[in-house]
Structure formats: C-alpha cells, structure tokens
C-alpha cells in the first residue's frame, strides 16, 4: 500500500511520457517484430508523441529515481525513541563526547609540552652555552633547510607539502607521463585480469 501510494504521488513528478520503456523493448524482443517506429533523429516512438500520452515509463525507473533523488529519501528519519532507548542513546553520546574531549585535551597538552621543551632548549642555548648566543643565532638561520638532498640541502622540498587525506592520480608528483608522476601512479586504470 505504501509503495503504491508513493508511486501514485510521484508518478507525475518523474514521468517522461515520450520515450519507449523497458517493458516495450522487452515486448518487441519477445515477439521478434523489428518495425522501425523510431525516426532517425529521435529514439522515441513517433506515434506515442503524436498521441500526446503514450505508454507510461516503467515503474522500476520511477522507483529508482524516487529512491535516488527525492528529498524524502535523502533526509534522514527523525530519531524517535522510547524513554529508555533515548537515555541509552544520550549516555552513549555523552560518553563519546567525553572521550573526544579527552583525546583533544591530551593532544593539546602534548603539543604544549613539546613547545615548552623546545623553548627551554633554545633558551639554554641562547643563555647557557657561554658563547654569547652565537650558536643560538646560527641555529635560528633557516637558509638551506628546504632544498634537494642531492644539492646538499636538509629536508626535501616535497616534505613542505601540506598533508592531505586523498592524493591525486600521481600522488602529487606532477603530471603523469614520463616524469616523476608516472612512477608514482597510485592506480593503474588499464590493468585487466588477463
């Protein structure tokens, strides 16, 4: 009853009258009639077009479209729980929030600790090394940090890239083809089993 009412309500929305349907096509195949009712420019039956109201599209198509595109299926159902069920849901929700907050706080504390350690080390270098802070000043110079290792640089420039969740088809190493990107291809689309 529900499905039929959906169909009834939405048939008009998703209906395309002027096209042959799967059912029509199947009928043609089964009977073996190969009458060319289609013109050279259109795939639709001219008779159906003339009549104005041809055969209805297959209900399966209507349903596929309904479940793919209609907003009622795209919107999640509201949560309606009994009291105990709701309280259980709430408990889990609170526990999850608590857990996440704790993880976040731990990370923050760790970062703070690292920063403070680095700061203390720098301060020690600046004040306690006994060379008037020369070593500290040298250490703070950033020349030649980012470079190519072959040229004697410290850290490869690729490491300066931002971290991403998903990589492109070449792994972010330039265009594919003969260059570096070709080797780094992360998915071989042309691969087949045999």
């Amino acid at each position: 009853m529900h499905a039929s009412s959906i169909r009834g309500a939405l048939a008009q929305v998703f209906q395309i009258p002027l096209r042959p349907t799967l059912r029509n096509a199947a009928g043609q195949i089964s009977t073996g009639i190969t009458t060319t009712t289609t013109s050279s420019f259109s795939t639709s039956a001219s008779r159906a077009a003339k009549k104005g109201r041809g055969a209805k599209p297959d209900q399966r198509i209507t349903l596929i479209r309904y479940f793919l595109y209609h907003p009622t299926t795209l919107t999640p159902r509201p949560l309606r729980f009994s009291r105990n069920r709701y309280l259980r849901h709430w408990t889990i929700h609170r526990a999850w929030n608590l857990y996440r907050a704790k993880v976040k706080q731990a990370r923050q504390l760790e970062l703070e600790r690292q920063y403070n350690a680095m700061h203390a080390a720098n301060e020690e270098l600046r004040v306690g090394a006994g060379d008037g802070g020369k070593l500290f000043r040298k250490a703070q110079m950033k020349t030649g940090v980012w470079s190519i290792p072959e040229r004697g640089g410290g850290v490869p420039i690729e490491y300066a890239r931002g971290l991403v969740e998903w990589m492109g088809s070449t792994g972010g190493l330039g265009s594919s083809g003969t260059g570096l990107g070709a080797k780094a291809k992360i998915w071989d689309s042309e691969w087949t089993r045999s």
Binding site: L87, R88, W90, T91, I92, R94
Partner: protein, 416 residues
C-alpha cells in the same frame, strides 16, 4: 517486583555516597547469572501475587478492581502494565547493550576521576581555610577571594561529576531532583534560563517595570505567582475578585544557601487627577523572609504580621476608565542576609506615594528578581473596593479632550 526494587534502592544509595562502580558491577553479575539464590528466596518469602498484587504490573481487571477498592489504583495503562509484567525488568544500568555498557564504563571512569579531584580540592580548601591570613600577600581579603574561587571550582567539579549520569537526568526530568545537590540546581537553572527567564525579562522590560519601579534588575530567582490554585503568568490580567486575597509566590533560587529577602508589591499606575500624572502605591510589603532552593514557597497571607509584614495586602483595584494597573512584584535581597529592624521600618513606611528606590537605599536592598500581574476595572471591582473600605468606586475617569491646533490658512498665492 523484588529484583528490580532492590538494585534501584542500592543505586540511590550509591549515588548519595558518590561511589557508583562497585555496587552496580556486583549487581550486574548477580542479574546475569541464572542461579541467583537471593532473589529466589525473596520471592518465596513474599505472599502470592494474587493475594498482594503490585499496582505497577497488575493487568487482570479483577485484581485491578481489588486494588482500586483497597485505595491503591493501578499505575499507567493496562497495556503498559501488561508489558511491564512480562518484561524481564532489568534495571536500566544493567541493560545488556554492548555499546551502552562500554559508554557507561567510560562515564564511570570519568566520574571516579572527578571524585578524586573533588577530594583533593576539598583538602586544598581546608588547608587555605586553616591558613593564617598573614601568610598571603593580600591579607584577609585575598584569602576570602581565594576561598570563594576555590569553592566555585569545587561546585563546578561536583556538577561535572554528575552531569553525565542518565539516572540523574531521568530523576530531574521526573521532577524528583533534590535541590540540595548542586547538579539538580544546575540543571534547574539551565532549564529556567532556557526559556522562562527570557519571558520574564521580556515582560518586565516591555511593560516598563524596570525603569518605572526598580532602576535595574538581573533576575536570578524564578518567580511564580498563584492566587489560590490559579497560576498567573507574568503580566497576565487578574480579575479583581481573584486578587482580593494575597497571592502565593514560588521564589526558586538556584544557588546554595539561604537568602533573606523583602517582597514588595507596588502599583506605579495610581491616577492622580490634580497633578495630571501617576502616583505609586504599595499594596504589600514584607521583610525578613528566608528562602532557600529547597523551600521556595512563600504564602503572603501566612507571613507573621508581628515580625515580617510591614504593609498588609491591599486588594488591587483600578478605577473605572483608568488605564490598566501594573502590580509589580519585586524581590529584594538584604545586604549580607541581615534582617532589617522591623519596628522603625514599619513606622517609617507609607502606603501612598511609596517609592521603592528610597526604600531600597534606606535598607540597603538589591533587587534579585521582579515579576508583575495587571488589573483593570471589571464587574467585581466595585464590590472588592467596598469590602476593602476604599473610596472612589463611584468615580469614573474619562479622557480629556485635547484642543486641536487652530487651522492655519496657507498663502494661496504660493499654490499652483
């Protein structure tokens, strides 16, 4: 039934003693093992269900009638009772859902951590309290300030320890929360600030109670007005025969401790024909009233006339034709919760021409909340005024006609 009753009582106890883990786990083991001897014994001792039906689970009409005759009507619908009687009735904390149980583990662990923090905080507060004020650089005021902030932190920790407990949430939603505990006070205040306080603030500002009666007020106490059994929303019109007797107030405070308050009911809309403006009149004034979160109810007619009531209730009345009267109820807190001297205050105070501002400054009071109801002329006003011995019921106010401006003829030559 027995297996459900016992753990719930135990759980209550565990909450009170701030230790949730041990008894609940012990109970969980007992509930899930089939060979639980204690429950069996308890059931064997009890008389038959047919002899002594439970009003929560009875669903046979005959037994229902029997219970109703005994004066214990069955609880809920028959459908619900039937479902309850046929369900295993596992206590909520022990419901066998894996994610739920894992979540409970996390929450219980967090709660224990919070309890440990509370203990350390308490120890610190005690240490500071014992310490000599000379040890601090700021002296005694610094010590007091530090103590206050530490107490606030302690309260916050107590709230945090309980806020994730589903049974606390359930009890609060059922209205069974104990307002002595910080968590229920916190939840009640949050609920109040969510909507009712906004309505109250809107009413007292839009109806101009705030600049007309009190200069400024930031409500921290919930005020509910009731005449007998009839609840009155803030700003409602109350028929004058209903408001002939004094009202009952529910002054719900949300912070711990008692408050010494003064309640004033002031009408700032008394028409004065001689000066062509409005006067103020006090309809009720009572001081030295103690309220606390657990005892919010104040019946204005039951306060002691010898030590509290400065001005007894004068029935609100509006003369015929006069604009509506706002009966504004203002709650004022005494400074340091010290009661005011009753006799001198009573001699000094006057009903007509009462100004709340001067009363406040004289007795060092601060407004902590305000509300109002309104009154206007209706059929019963004349009778109410007669019973109260008030004059003026036979006088009607009518609008004065304002003379229109004389018609000024414009210079026609400037017209096209």
């Amino acid at each position: 039934m027995a297996p459900s009753r016992a753990p719930s009582a135990l759980l209550l106890h565990s909450l009170r003693s701030l230790a949730i883990e041990k008894p609940s786990t012990a109970l969980a083991i007992r509930a899930f093992t089939s060979a639980s001897s204690t429950c069996q014994e308890v059931q064997a001792e009890r008389p038959s269900f047919y002899r002594n039906p439970d009003p929560e689970t009875v669903y046979q009409p005959r037994l229902e009638r029997k219970l109703a005759r005994a004066g214990r009507p069955p609880i809920g619908s028959r459908r619900r009772r039937m479902a309850l009687s046929q369900s295993p009735r596992i206590p909520f904390e022990q419901l066998p859902y894996q994610c739920f149980q894992e979540a409970r583990k996390v929450l219980v662990e967090d709660r224990e951590e919070k309890l440990r923090k509370i203990e350390t905080e308490r120890a610190r507060v005690a240490r500071v309290r014992e310490a000599d004020p000379g040890a601090f650089r700021g002296g005694e005021p610094f010590k007091q300030k530090k103590l206050a902030s530490m107490e606030a932190e302690l309260e916050r920790l107590k709230i945090l320890a309980d806020i994730n407990d589903p049974s606390v949430k359930r009890r609060f939603e059922d209205g069974k929360g104990d307002m002595n505990k910080p968590i229920y006070r916190y939840l009640a205040e949050r609920k109040w600030r969510e909507y009712p306080r906004k309505v109250l603030v809107q009413r007292i500002t839009q109806m101009n109670v705030v600049p007309d009666v009190v200069p400024n007020v930031d409500p921290i106490v919930d005020v509910k007005i009731a005449f007998g059994k009839k609840a009155v929303g803030s700003g409602d019109f109350v028929p004058s025969d209903v408001s002939e007797k004094p009202c009952q107030l529910t002054l719900q405070a949300f912070d711990r401790g008692e408050k010494m308050v003064t309640i004033a009911v002031v009408d700032p809309d008394v028409p004065n024909v001689e000066t062509d403006s409005f006067d103020s009149r006090c309809h009720y004034l009572a001081s030295n009233i103690t309220i606390s979160p657990t005892k919010p109810l104040v019946d204005l007619s039951k306060l002691s006339p010898g030590s509290q009531v400065l001005l007894p209730w004068l029935p609100p009345h509006a003369q015929k034709g006069s604009p509506y009267h706002r009966l504004s109820i203002v709650i004022l807190q005494h400074k340091d919760n010290i009661p005011i001297d009753f006799e001198p205050a009573k001699q000094k105070v006057e009903r007509d021409g009462f100004t709340l501002r001067s009363f406040m400054s004289r007795h060092l009071l601060t407004p902590i909340s305000a509300s109002l109801f309104r009154t206007r002329w209706d059929e019963s006003t004349a009778a109410v005024m007669e019973r109260a011995g008030l004059e003026g019921a036979n006088v009607e106010l009518k609008r004065k006609k304002v003379e229109p401006l004389p018609y000024k003829r414009r210079n026609p030559s400037s017209f096209r």
